[in-house]
């Protein structure tokens, strides 16, 4: 991988995208920053320059296929190649599935899924020419285990997993072109502050929350050590295992956990958040959810319950095995 690395990041104005840009900036990378908010990107570009990086700012909506394609073209024109493309831009919409308007679901999928497809289609021709390149698709642990009250978001994250796995299989004969999927658990980002909310109660980030910089460091590591799938956060790893081993218990408990943990008691007016238009505020990495002293890994009752169920399951399984 040449130095400096040439990286494109969508959804760079806040959260994981912004953290990733700053993390790459520390390595002196050439970073193409994509998001809807120009001012937010300009501020970020300044921060990147201060860290020793070379940023390029492209204010755009990832649903604009041509604009996304132009970025890939511009990057190759100026620097000759693209080493990594990070598909990250996402919006969220909370609410009971039956009550969500179809057009808003469609818009979410356009951003969260079609934005990724356009990114992948824009960069792959250049990866093919180079014979190498890393496409990172930021999904979510909910893309693996599901999540109630954010069905469109979960659909988009599952679809991203499908995109990644299927595309990786299609590209298996080009070993230096890699598709990596990152599954963060609950990350302290402004996505919860800006999400559309038709649930009727105020959204909060359930515990334990992880700093976005942890995801960013994982993505930077993929540049030299690409992995097909990476779950960020112990909670996420545990959720995947629990869903595999005890799906019934997990689903029941997870619903309760989300209903209680993701919403406060306070009621909230319906909002579509930044689904259609970006919000001028929240151009930052953190959403202010994680107190400094909060550990990254906690074992709330849900996990203890599931853990017990798993142990019980294993014990029963073993005893059946022995008695056969």
């Amino acid at each position: 991988m040449p130095n400096p690395a040439i990286v494109v990041i969508t959804g760079a104005s806040s959260g994981i995208g912004r953290a990733t840009a700053l993390e790459f900036a520390k390595k002196g990378a050439i970073i193409f920053l994509l998001a809807r908010r120009k001012e937010a990107l300009d501020d970020l570009a300044e921060e990147c320059i201060a860290l020793g990086a070379t940023p390029r700012v492209f204010p755009l909506d990832v649903t604009d296929e041509e604009a996304v394609r132009n970025v890939a073209q511009a990057a190759v024109k100026e620097f000759g190649r693209i080493d990594m493309w990070v598909n990250n831009a996402a919006v969220s919409l909370f609410g009971r599935f039956e009550e969500l308007p179809g057009k808003d679901i469609r818009r979410l999928l356009e951003v969260n899924l079609f934005g990724y497809l356009y990114g992948a289609q824009a960069v792959l021709p250049y990866f093919r020419e180079q014979g190498s390149g890393i496409l990172v698709n930021v999904s979510s642990i909910v893309g693996i285990v599901g999540q109630p009250y954010t069905v469109p978001y979960s659909i988009s994250k599952s679809a991203i997993r499908g995109l990644s796995l299927s595309l990786a299989q299609e590209l298996a004969d080009t070993p230096h072109i890699r598709v990596c999927t990152v599954y963060p658990a609950v990350i302290d980002t402004p996505i919860f502050n800006q999400a559309g909310n038709l649930y009727g109660k105020k959204i909060q980030a359930p515990k334990p929350r992880i700093k976005a910089s942890k995801v960013a460091k994982t993505i930077v590591r993929l540049l030299h050590h690409p992995q097909t799938e990476v779950i960020v956060g112990g909670q996420g790893k545990m959720a995947r295992t629990a869903r595999l081993v005890a799906p019934g218990i997990f689903d029941k408990q997870f619903r309760k956990n989300i209903a209680n943990g993701h919403f406060s008691e306070e009621s909230a007016e319906p909002t579509l958040g930044n689904l259609y238009e970006p919000k001028p505020q929240f151009a930052q990495v953190s959403g202010g959810w994680k107190p400094e002293d909060e550990p990254n890994f906690m074992l709330p009752t849900l996990w203890l319950g599931i853990g017990a169920a798993v142990m019980a399951g294993l014990a029963v399984g073993l005893s059946i095995g022995r008695n056969r």
Partner: protein, 477 residues
């Protein structure tokens, strides 16, 4: 007896592994089976092997090269054991057993090999080389002696194999090293024969297309009877007149080779006949048309005179096809003779331009194509070395100039330029070297036959190539 048979897909003993047709058909078959074909099928595929080979002194390399074909050459006493249909059987066994919308049959040609690869269809060659061992101490510059000596063996071969014609050829200009040990029997099928017919019936889709490759290139030769020809010289750097009548270049060449002659004393030609290696014997077309009529297949003809006429057309075919698939189509892979790689041309998204040899006429044709075509940003050249500084050989400086024309940077692939034309290491290196030189990797996609036909219909004539429907002509006629 079994070594002369194509048992269990094995190559019959008399297939010349260094022959253009056998290398092309093997590399196409490898492609259709999903993989590449390297080292001409006989060499290890590595930089190291190529380097080791090239460290040998030129004299040793010459001996090795001249002896390399000996294993393929058959003793003349075994001529009676040869059933040329075993060659057809062997070829048909190379291709994957599936249904194809079209199958090519006819002249050998590197560019047509690429066309077949793009269409993902087999090609059944008309011409095969059977190298025959000669007695020691044959003077390479006395073609008459080769002709006289080989005549009874040729007649025996023709008697036993009624479906073929024989073009016995010697070329002391270009095949000098091999001529020390063998002479070339090139056989051309006049009939499809049982194996090709069986293959077509089994593997051509109902109503499928037989594409007939017809290179109309002829060469003066002596007809010994209506099926037996002796051709002196061959397509390359020298003209037929130079071979038959001599020239300053010929005298100079012979002097350099320390030959006691100033010109060759070749048998007087009785006419022009299909060129032994590349030309198409038209009797096969009649048989294909008969077969197609009986079995409900279509026949499409590709006719061209010069072997490289089809190269520019094929390059443009690839270019258009790549552009259609949103690929850059700006990389040219120039190949020569048997140094060709349908698999890696497609995987690296390179536009192939195939040259017959490493001689001035080949370079001229390439140059004229480059002048006509949209510029290529990258040029790569896999350059043939055949161990003879023959008449018309294009010097390395010319190839260098063509690669670096001021605007474009080019690169030799696996070639050690200082060793040319004794760079035998290139055969071991080219396949790996290309993969290292070009990092691009594309998926293999099959060109639809309808797209191909429409392209040929629109563009073939611009390159001096005729694309026509044989059945329509028959109806008209």
């Amino acid at each position: 007896m079994s070594k002369y048979q194509a048992l269990d897909g094995q190559e019959p003993r008399f297939v010349a592994s260094f022959d253009s047709a056998s290398i092309m058909v093997k590399s196409l078959a490898a492609f259709l089976n999903g993989h590449d074909f390297s080292g001409l099928g006989v060499m290890p595929n590595s930089q190291w092997a190529g380097d080791s080979l090239n460290t040998l002194p030129t004299s040793v390399k010459k001996v090795l090269y001249s002896k390399s074909g000996v294993f393929d050459a058959i003793p003349p006493k075994d001529i009676g054991k040869i059933d040329t249909e075993e060659l057809a059987k062997w070829v048909t066994q190379l291709f994957p057993e599936r249904k194809y919308p079209a199958v090519m049959v006819g002249s050998s040609n590197g560019a047509l090999t690429h066309m077949a690869a793009a269409l993902n269809i087999p090609w059944l060659p008309q011409t095969f080389l059977i190298p025959v061992q000669i007695p020691h101490d044959f003077p390479v510059d006395v073609p008459k002696q080769y002709m006289r000596w080989a005549y009874p063996y040729g007649e025996e071969l023709l008697r036993l194999n009624p479906g073929i014609e024989l073009h016995h050829m010697t070329d002391p200009n270009q095949d000098r090293l091999h001529l020390l040990a063998m002479t070339y029997f090139r056989i051309k099928k006049r009939r499809l024969g049982v194996w090709y017919e069986y293959f077509l019936k089994q593997h051509l889709e109902p109503g499928g297309t037989i594409i007939v490759n017809e290179c109309t290139r002829s060469w003066p030769a002596k007809a010994l009877n209506d099926r037996h020809f002796f051709q002196f010289g061959g397509t390359g750097g020298a003209s037929p007149e130079e071979y038959y009548q001599g020239s300053e270049r010929v005298s100079e060449f012979l002097r350099q080779q320390q030959s006691p002659f100033v010109k060759w004393d070749a048998p007087e030609p009785t006419g022009e006949y299909p060129e032994a290696e590349w030309g198409f014997a038209p009797q096969l077309l009649d048989d294909i048309e008969r077969f197609a009529r009986e079995n409900g297949f279509r026949v499409q003809r590709i006719q061209f005179e010069e072997m490289q006429d089809i190269s520019g057309l094929t390059a443009e075919l690839y270019r258009n096809w790549y552009r259609e698939r949103n690929m850059p189509a700006n990389r040219l892979l120039i190949e020569s003779f048997a140094l060709l790689t349908p698999y890696w041309a497609l995987r690296t998204g390179s536009v192939p331009y195939w040259m017959v040899f490493n001689t001035a006429p080949s370079a001229d044709a390439l140059e004229s194509y480059l002048q006509k075509a949209d510029p290529y940003d990258q040029r790569y050249l896999m350059l043939l070395s055949h161990g003879t500084e023959g008449i018309g050989l294009a010097p390395i400086e010319r190839w260098q100039r063509m690669l670096h024309d001021g605007q474009n940077a080019g690169e030799f692939v696996g070639t050690e330029t200082k060793k040319y034309p004794y760079d035998f290491g290139v055969y071991a290196r080219y396949n790996q070297a290309l993969q290292e030189a070009v990092s691009a990797r594309y998926p293999i996609a099959t060109m639809p036959l309808s797209w191909f036909e429409s392209f040929m219909h629109r563009h073939a004539s611009n390159y001096g190539v005729t694309w026509s429907d044989a059945s329509a002509e028959t109806e008209k006629g």
